[in-house]
Amino acid sequence: MNVRFSQKAFADFLSLNYPLLSDFPDAKTIQAYGVFNAERKLAQRSWFIVDKQGVIRYKKVLAPKEPLLSNDVLIEEVKKINK
């Protein structure tokens, strides 16, 4: 599948203002971050916050059926890092 075309359509449909990147088909970055679901060959839903020095300061990987993380949680984490 032409993932870039599909992703662009997805971003346009949701009017997203931030870029979407494709790690298809190698999934190298997904594996490097330790969130590769080998069975389904896709990434587990996860969030990483990287500080200005390039250090990962926050990581959350959702377990199956776990509710989505709220934006408020992420904003609080960013505020903590920026203090």
């Binding site: 599948m1 032409n2 075309f5 599909s6 662009k8 359509a9 997805f10 346009d12 449909f13």
Partner: protein
Amino acid sequence: MNDERRFRFISRGQLLLAAVFFLAGGQLYAQAAGKPPDYSAIPKLQEMKERSPAPDFTLPNPDGRKVSLKDFRGKVVFLNFWATWCEYCKDEMPTMDRLYREFKGKGFEIVAVNVKDKRPEALAFVKQLKLTYPIVMDPEGEVGLLYGAFGMPTTYLIDRKGVVLARLWGPADWYSPAARKLIAALVEQK
């Protein structure tokens, strides 16, 4: 009025109507001649300025024959995604058919991708609406996903070289003067 005279009267009336339609159509083509296509004339139609190549796909038609998008290279392609549950599709598709009948044979093709319906239901729908343009079946919805058909209908306009020109999420009256003028302008481009 005897039968012969009535027949003659009807024939003249039909001739007059045909002449009016011919002149109106001629005027439409004359208006489109040499002008850039006006995508904004169709509400919510988005011009795709990236000019990406339309990803190719191969799907079966209702007879099981495989049809690829690239088969239509050299023609302006109206790529439409639809489903039988979609009420907007029911309104839109007869206007697409009128458009198709006007422009087929002039470098224009419609490819209507049915997304995730069962074949008999899709065929009954096509028969009910008396559609004459080509249908292909996407039972797993893979091509629909590829083209971001998150809602139905979704339509792409693709040029003769296979480049995406515009996209519309939602329905349109595809036999409106604006739509016919747009398609006339696109088929004129070589």
